[in-house]
């Protein structure tokens, strides 16, 4: 489904990704773990198409399509969804207005007609209920004044509504208390399907107790330095990232 080959990326003359290779298959939940500064967030931004990052080499293919040639909105239409580590506050844009605009934009790109308002509201309410979201939240401007947990729930709500085929969760567990973590994880798990793949980026193993991965990749120095099954995450939890730092020094 997702294939990254020899990806080299820099920002303001600083090399962040150094020939990264990664494959995620349909239906797979892949976790990427790594110490701070290993380039995890950069990877998520580059897949989603944020400007500022200069791709020097390599390619990113989603179902054979070259993502690097696409605008962020085209990538979204192609099925990429990034749950932001720090979701943005957009004053003046109502949450509902935003959700509707996003859903309709994607429908349009698929050649479908606009959602009727009752259908839209029904879908949002159903999805929000599953995430135990307070309805008042949806009446406010997008993410404005939301707590950290509320923002993350809003991200998962969007994921549920937009039904992407490739989801990236960037440090989704950061800033969540244990209840919020459970609710968010359940939201994600409900979306697991044979047609959908996930890339779960996290610093800690904690999240992976709730969203159990099929594969775990360790990222360091801008590339994947080790890959394995879910037991790899436990090993990292026990030993930390020190081994990888040493190998760097050596």
């Amino acid at each position: 489904m997702l294939e990254i080959k020899n990806l080299v990326v820099q920002i303001e003359d600083k090399r962040i990704l150094n020939g990264l290779n990664l494959t995620v298959n349909k239906g797979e939940v892949a976790a990427i773990m790594g110490p701070n500064g290993s380039g995890k967030s950069t990877l998520s931004y580059v897949i989603a198409g944020k400007e500022d990052y200069e791709v020097l080499d390599g390619e990113i293919l989603l179902d054979g399509q070259n993502l690097l040639e696409m605008e962020p909105d085209q990538r979204a239409a192609a099925g990429v969804f990034l749950a932001f580590q720090y979701p943005l506050e957009i004053p003046g844009v109502g949450s509902m207005t935003f959700l509707k605009a996003a859903m309709n934009a994607q429908r349009k790109s698929r050649g479908e007609g606009e959602l009727s308002t009752p259908d839209f509201i029904k879908q949002v309410n159903a999805a929000a209920a599953k995430l135990e979201m307070n309805k008042d939240m949806l009446k406010r401007a997008l993410n404005v004044g939301f707590s950290g947990g509320e923002k993350k729930r809003m991200e998962i709500l969007q994921m549920a509504l937009l039904q992407p085929s490739f989801c990236i969760l960037d440090e989704t567990d950061s800033g969540l208390d244990i209840d919020a973590l459970r609710i968010v994880s359940e939201g994600v798990n409900a979306l697991r399907s044979p047609d959908r793949a996930f890339l779960v980026i996290t610093h800690y193993q904690r999240l992976l107790n709730h969203i159990v991965p099929d594969t775990v990749h360790v990222m360091h120095g801008g590339r994947i330095v080790r890959s394995g099954g879910k037991e790899l995450a436990l090993e990292l939890e026990a030993n930390g990232y020190a081994d990888y730092r040493e190998s760097e020094a050596a």
Partner: protein, 437 residues
């Protein structure tokens, strides 16, 4: 600075001629007109070295003076109003003007809403109506050249008196319909008696889109404990040079809320001159300006806090596309005796394309020590991170921009209380954005 006597520009000479030939035919006494015109011509059209017109050089912008149009026939007026679209879905008492003349036939004076009285200004001037004494409620506004021109040439208008709680908005609908350029000078006086509440709508349109030159003055005296909502929509054609002034005096414990939305005119300048004359009054003056092409939009504002414990909020939003130029000049004045003043003024501009310009001049002039006053001004582009977030959710560039622009202007428009009016303004913004993409 030395007063250098400059040669009169062709436009200034034309104004002198226009005044000479019009003064005997204009209604009412010529004395006050002549006085205002004398004051005007002593300095001529303001140019960039006149501080208040630093960013809107009327001497350069007003090259040719358009003739004043005559009174339209009933059929002409009807046709013109038929082509008018502003606030079409808002239920309101219509007070229409065509080519600068009040269309009397369109108002059923016998069936005015309770508490509303309307006197045509032309008649009032001709027979010396007692309300005329209430004109010019803001003394220092008469030093302004645009206001002076209006006083010199004002040909028509209405005087409105409001008492009690009036539910139905009054809509001053200004339509210009001649195929060639004309100048208009209208004056409206609104007296809102103590304890009254009232909504005033103003729309300015042209059915022909010619390069008209309207110069409108609205003067309002709002008494104690009044609640006034004022919404002005400039939907002039893209060639107009539109000058307008709102002169305002507000009493105690009142609530006054005004917004000017600009969606038209080659050049526009809207001046708000407000005096808060009673304690515990709240004033809000907002603006939402949309500029494109080579349009020039100026919002100028002076608020004088002349009593204790008043609060004023000014929020001006300007969106600048292409090579347009936006101007905001705002000043809050707090004299010694206006203690406990709370004044906050904000101007924010968004530049959507490379060639645009924005000039901000937010001023504070403060003589009282126990006050909280602040102003802010920002200008810049749309936030890249927000755009990315929206695009990552699948919105194409233009759509993402539109959503953010709507939100940006929406922060100013959301203070409009009447839902239908607010919807109409949101529609205006959407229309402007649609025309852009």
């Amino acid at each position: 600075m030395a007063d250098v006597t400059l040669m009169k520009t062709p436009a200034e000479t034309a104004l002198v001629q226009a005044f000479e030939s019009a003064k005997t035919t204009l209604p009412g006494s010529t004395e006050s007109r002549a006085q205002a015109f004398e004051q005007f011509s002593a300095r001529g059209l303001p140019h960039r070295r006149v501080e208040e017109f630093k960013y809107t050089d009327l001497r350069a912008l007003l090259r040719e003076v358009a003739p004043f149009a005559g009174v339209p026939t009933a059929d002409e007026a009807k046709a013109a109003l038929g082509g008018s679209k502003a606030f079409a879905d808002v239920a309101a008492l219509q007070v229409p003007f065509v080519n600068g003349h009040f269309v009397r036939e369109a108002v059923d004076f016998a069936k005015l809403p309770e508490g509303v009285e309307i006197v045509p200004l032309r008649e009032a001037l001709a027979n010396g109506h007692e309300w005329l004494a209430k004109l010019s409620p803001v003394p220092w506004a008469s030093g302004n050249p645009v206001y002076q021109l209006n006083t010199s040439f004002m040909a028509d208008g209405v005087m409105i008196r409001v008492a009690g709680s009036v539910e139905t908005p009054v809509h001053l609908r200004f339509v210009t319909a001649t195929g060639s350029a004309i100048a208009t000078a209208t004056r409206v006086l609104v007296v809102v008696e103590d304890d009254a509440s009232f909504t005033l709508l103003e729309s300015h349109e042209s059915t022909s889109g010619a390069n008209h030159q309207p110069n409108d003055v609205i003067e309002m005296i709002a008494g104690d404990r009044t609640n006034v909502q004022h919404v002005r929509l400039n939907a002039e054609g893209d060639k107009a040079l539109a000058l307008s002034t709102l002169a305002l005096k507000v009493g105690a414990e009142a609530n006054f809320n005004s917004i000017n939305v600009v969606a038209g005119s080659a050049t526009s300048r809207h001046q708000v001159y407000a005096i808060l004359n009673g304690e515990n009054t709240n004033l809000r003056v907002n603006g939402a300006t949309m500029l494109k092409g080579t349009q020039h939009g100026d919002s100028t504002l002076v608020v004088e806090h002349n009593a204790l414990h008043c609060e004023s909020r000014e929020l001006f939003k300007t969106v600048i596309d292409d090579e347009a130029t936006g101007v905001f000049q705002g000043k809050i004045i707090v004299p010694h005796h206006a203690q406990k003043t709370d004044g906050r003024m904000m101007s924010a501009a968004l530049l959507l394309a490379e060639g645009g310009s924005m000039n901000n001049k937010p001023e504070l002039e403060i003589f009282a020590d126990d006050v909280q006053c602040a102003h802010g001004a920002t200008c810049g582009q749309l936030d890249e991170d927000l755009l990315f977030y929206l695009k990552a959710r699948g919105l194409p560039q233009k759509e993402a921009e539109s959503l953010l622009v709507q939100a940006f202007l929406g922060e100013s428009i959301e203070f409009v209380e009447n839902e239908d009016v607010r919807e109409a303004l949101v529609g205006t913004v959407e229309g402007w954005l649609k025309a852009r993409s």
